[in-house]
């Protein structure tokens, strides 16, 4: 459904979602060779097979295509976002077998993978690799729709659209550059439009290829079925279902949510325009949905399909795949801090499985995460995602509810839901730590003492509602007009909420003081509260000490480019999925893929050699070090990538990961709590000319400028960036941050020196 440009975009997007995982869906069979075979080796084989009849330029463009596409795809396949050899993959293979039963040669070239991503997308890449996201699978209604999606992507591979588009785009860029010498009007926009128009042609032909496959198959190929696929595209920004969200979902026996938090009207679902304006359509790499419907309709008028089945392979397998996709989506959203989406999709899941503990835990985790972000005032980025005005359909109510609540009420409500979950599932080890996090925040940010609560007092439901309504007088916020400026709107709303919160702080809490009246006698709740009071006192004492000592950060000693907790006791670390990228900014194709992979392999050896010198045990989890039997380690890497991604989002909030229990078990398995994310980016930058030339020109005035100028003129310009982040996964604290930026190249000596230094500091930081 997507061609190369979007494939590249998705590749980038996939990197941001590369940290997605769900413990429920992991790789179980052996890893495919594509994962652990070096990309350079694959690239050399591909280039070797290119025909000799190609001109030098044609060969060069093709090589560059296979280089960029191959390495990009491999990077994604190694990131942990792709599922291999599962029953789902086998199911897709069977559909492909049926679609291509008359074309075994093409079938042999194809590999189908599932992307663990909530993005609604599918795309084809170099090497016959086709990726379908779980976000898309969750939206489909039957196997025939899935078959059409696969047929479209097979079309891209069969017709070599990836290469064709790359060659064409290259020509357009070249012509654009040539013309630009004479015509200022030959701008980037014109070349972009030319590329988009070409891409739209390719998409149309892929659509026709897909419908051809479907017409020859046993699948039903009628307008309704195919329109349903385009409906998926049209409503891709919505959840797979549109169900009302009742605000009393979060209420308790002694806690009521103000009715003012019910939206007067829900924004109607509009969908992506079927036929956008010409200007808009020129900006898109794909034809408009209306145009695609028309093409399909015309094709179906010409030719009737042979099949009439919605399911050829297995209805059960399809529903299993789709339902599992739907089931795992909330966790994917949660990993990326899309709290509202995680809660709403979990709520939808609970409508089907009301007793599902995992979905309830996802809600509790989302509430905990969002509470932490709100209390820490680090929610700005996430508040962007929570702008209820931008959402359509019934989900808007949830967005409004979570947006409009004051932080204190949100904290109280989250704890109420989560502790009730603990009472429902007392043996679940993940829930009580969430409760502790929420109580800690409640005590630290909002309530000084348990005496603030009306323990043991009773209040009628009506009175609770009355109090909650009084406490929320401003919540009827009219959705701002589309023409108003976003920044102004945000600032005013935020300012209004903050000022009112200050004025009505005590008044505002009144309806919350009865919320835990069923919990105070519970031993666990008491323990949580007492622990939180101790934690708060310690934290305040530390803060006071810091204020008096004048240091902002106590435990982190700034040693040049290091921040190290001096109380480490490190003799073993695990390095997870290190990265190494070489970029030459002087070239149009700046990323040096082959050199980067060589650099990564060399870097891993350097890490091991220096660890041996320091006397530290280092375990490296990297796909380039894996083999077919390393499935378990690959799954570990996926989980750890998720965890690191979350912690980077959490910053200094000291928040456990959303799958902390899994990470704790990995810590035990690897025999150390210290896990590191590290990597290097090496840049060759453009040569500076002006400064050195001026130095030489003025050297008669000041002699030393001459050697300086000559040196600067002839010496290459480099930049070298080395990042290392060491976490104690048990305490979820970043104990070490190394952040080095040098004007040097990544020579062996520089790598050795920095790696040795980092490991030495870790090993010598013992008590």
């Amino acid at each position: 459904m997507k061609s190369l440009p979007l494939a590249i975009c998705l590749l980038i997007a996939a990197q941001s979602f590369a940290q997605n995982t769900h413990s429920r869906v992991t790789n179980t069979a052996s890893l495919p060779t594509e994962v652990y075979t070096p990309s350079t080796e694959k690239f050399k084989n591909t280039v070797f097979d290119l025909p000799d009849t190609l001109s030098k330029r044609e060969r060069m463009v093709r090589e560059q295509y296979y280089l960029e596409s191959g390495f990009g795809i491999d990077e994604m396949m190694r990131s942990g976002v792709v599922l291999y050899n599962t029953e789902y993959n086998a199911y897709l293979d069977k559909i492909a077998d049926h679609l291509l039963r008359d074309n075994t040669e093409l079938r042999m070239q194809l590999h189908f993978y599932i992307l663990r991503s909530p993005v609604v997308n599918a795309f084809a890449g170099a090497g016959g690799n086709i990726f379908i996201s779980m976000g898309l699978l969750a939206m489909l209604e039957n196997e025939a729709e899935l078959a059409f999606v696969m047929g479209h992507e097979i079309g891209h591979i069969a017709l070599e659209h990836g290469l064709e588009f790359y060659v064409k785009a290259n020509e357009i860029d070249k012509n654009s550059d040539d013309n630009a010498l004479f015509k200022r009007s030959s701008s980037f926009d014109i070349s972009s439009i030319a590329k988009n128009l070409y891409s739209q042609d390719l998409e149309k032909s892929a659509d026709l290829f897909g419908i051809d496959l479907l017409l020859k198959s046993k699948y039903v190929a009628d307008t309704n079925t195919l329109n349903a696929v385009f409906d998926v595209l049209k409503f891709a920004y919505l959840p797979y279902e549109d169900q009302p969200f009742p605000i009393d979902f979060f209420e308790g026996p002694h806690y009521a949510i103000s009715k003012n938090l019910i939206l007067d009207s829900i924004k109607q679902i509009s969908g992506t325009p079927e036929l956008p304006s010409k200007k808009e359509s020129l900006k898109s790499t794909h034809p408009s949905i209306g145009e695609r419907r028309k093409i399909i309709r015309e094709k179906l008028l010409e030719q009737n399909g042979r099949g009439n089945q919605y399911y050829v392979v297995s209805e059960a397998s399809f529903k299993n795949l789709r339902d599992d996709s739907r089931y795992t989506l909330p966790m994917y959203y949660l990993h990326n801090q899309f709290f509202q989406d995680a809660i709403y999709l979990s709520y939808l899941g609970l409508q089907r499985n009301p007793d599902d503990a995992n979905l309830k835990k996802v809600i509790a985790k989302a509430l905990t995460g969002y509470t932490k972000f709100r209390n820490s005032k680090e929610e700005t980025t996430y508040a962007e995602k929570a702008r209820f005005e931008d959402y359509e359909g019934q989900q808007q109510q949830l967005y409004f509810l979570l947006w409009a609540m004051y932080d204190v009420e949100f904290n109280v409500m989250s704890l109420l839901y989560t502790f009730q979950l603990h009472l429902d599932y007392p043996d679940d080890p993940e829930i009580l730590p969430l409760c502790q996090t929420l109580v800690n925040d409640l005590v630290y940010y909002h309530f000084n003492d348990e005496d603030d609560f009306k323990i043991g007092e009773t209040i009628s439901r009506d009175s609770l509602y009355l109090l909650s309504d009084i406490a929320n007088p401003k919540l009827k916020v009219a959705p701002p007009s589309k023409t108003s400026k976003v920044k102004t709107r945000k600032a005013s709303v935020r300012s209004k909420r903050t000022s009112q919160e200050k004025i009505q702080k005590d008044k505002y809490k009144k309806h919350l003081l009865y919320a835990y009246n069923d919990f105070w006698d519970n031993k666990d709740f008491r323990n949580l509260w007492n622990e939180a009071v101790i934690a708060r006192d310690e934290r305040e004492a530390e803060a006071k000490e810091l204020r008096e000592s004048g240091f902002k950060i106590k435990d982190l000693g700034d040693k040049r480019n290091y921040y190290i907790n001096n109380n480490l006791d490190v003799d073993s670390i695990v390095i997870v999925n290190p990265f190494y990228t070489r970029i030459d900014l002087r070239k149009d194709n700046a990323v040096e893929y082959v050199s980067s992979e060589e650099g990564e392999i060399n870097f891993l050896e350097i890490v091991e050699a220096n660890a041996a010198k320091v006397g530290m045990q280092v375990t490296i989890i990297d796909p380039l070090r894996m083999d077919a039997n390393a499935t378990e380690q690959f799954n570990d890497m996926q989980a750890l990538n998720d965890w690191f991604s979350e912690q980077l989002d959490f910053g200094s909030m000291n928040m456990p990961g959303y799958e902390q229990a899994l990470i704790d078990s990995l810590s035990k398995a690897y025999g150390t709590p210290y896990f590191m994310w590290t990597g290097i980016v090496s840049l060759r930058t453009r040569q500076k000319v002006l400064g050195p030339v001026l130095s030489i020109v003025f050297s008669p005035v000041f002699f030393p400028l001459l050697p300086y100028g000559i040196y600067e003129l002839i010496s290459p310009e480099y930049e070298f960036f080395y990042l290392s982040l060491l976490y104690n996964v048990n305490t979820h604290e970043a104990d070490v941050l190394k952040f080095t930026l040098l004007k040097r190249n990544d020579s062996q000596a520089i790598l050795n020196s920095h790696t040795y230094e980092m490991l030495y500091r870790l090993s010598s930081a013992k008590k």
Binding site: T740, L741, K743, A749, N752, S753, E757
Partner: protein, 251 residues
């Protein structure tokens, strides 16, 4: 100057006591040999008349550049610093105004100083790479015990102001002190070999203690009219001397 030199040694040795260097993969000791180019100031003066306005103008002796060999030991003491002990053979040319007491004549005479320079220095590595692999600034205090001799006497219009008997006269041994500032880049190859490219600015201070010599110092017995001379310009600035050291990481 002697006291500064002594204090510098004391400070650096004290620093070694607290040293917890990381070095290059744990190695902190480099033995290196190098070559630098030494030069003096472009000097335009030579002789300045006190009384005779008709005296011809001075002589520009230009820049004198000479290769100077070094041997050096570098010991990394902290993450970003190291100390140096350097020996270098250092023939210098200095310019002196010799004048007679009756001020009837004086002229530029070039004298050379031969000796060995001993330096004690400190390198401060200023990039984030641990010493001794990085860009650095250096400061070095050095002492230069030298033997000075007159090597060149201008002869104007057949009049040589110096008696022939003075021409091969040697002076007493004089110790000068100096300071150099440097900027360099030290790189490491094959985990063993160090290469250090640097530019140094050095300044030899005028020797105030022994700057004035009487003709008794010259042990001249047969000429008693000009009976004293002073090193008026016995200081040498080594301008932007490029240097290269090749060393070995010992341990």
């Amino acid at each position: 100057m002697k006291s500064i030199f002594t204090i510098t040694i004391a400070v650096l040795l004290s620093a070694c006591a607290w040293a917890q260097p990381i070095g290059y993969q744990g190695k902190t000791f480099i033995l290196s040999a190098g070559l630098g180019l030494g030069s003096n100031l472009p000097y335009y003066s030579g002789y300045v008349p006190f009384t005779d306005d008709s005296t011809p103008p001075g002589e520009d002796i230009g820049i004198v550049v000479k290769p100077i060999p070094h041997v050096q030991i570098e010991y990394t003491i902290f993450d970003a610093s190291s100390i140096l002990i350097r020996w270098q053979s250092m023939p210098l040319e200095v310019n002196a105004n010799l004048y007679a007491e009756d001020e009837t004549f004086y002229t530029l005479t070039r004298i050379s100083a031969k000796g060995n320079m001993f330096g004690l220095g400190y390198k401060s590595y200023f990039t984030q790479t641990p010493a001794p692999l990085s860009n650095y600034f250096s400061i070095m205090a050095f002492m230069y015990p030298s033997q000075i001799e007159i090597t060149e006497h201008p002869d104007y219009a057949g009049i040589n102001p110096f008696p022939t008997t003075l021409q091969n006269t040697t002076f007493d041994k004089v110790t000068n002190y100096g300071l150099s500032l440097g900027f360099g880049i030290q790189d490491i190859f094959f985990d063993k070999l160090t290469v250090d490219y640097a530019i140094e600015l050095a300044y030899i201070f005028k020797n105030f203690d022994e700057g004035t010599h009487t003709f008794e110092d010259l042990h001249y017995e047969g000429y008693d009219n000009p009976n004293a001379f002073t090193f008026e310009n016995a200081r040498t600035l080594l301008l932007a001397s490029p240097m290269i050291h090749v060393g070995y990481l010992l341990f």
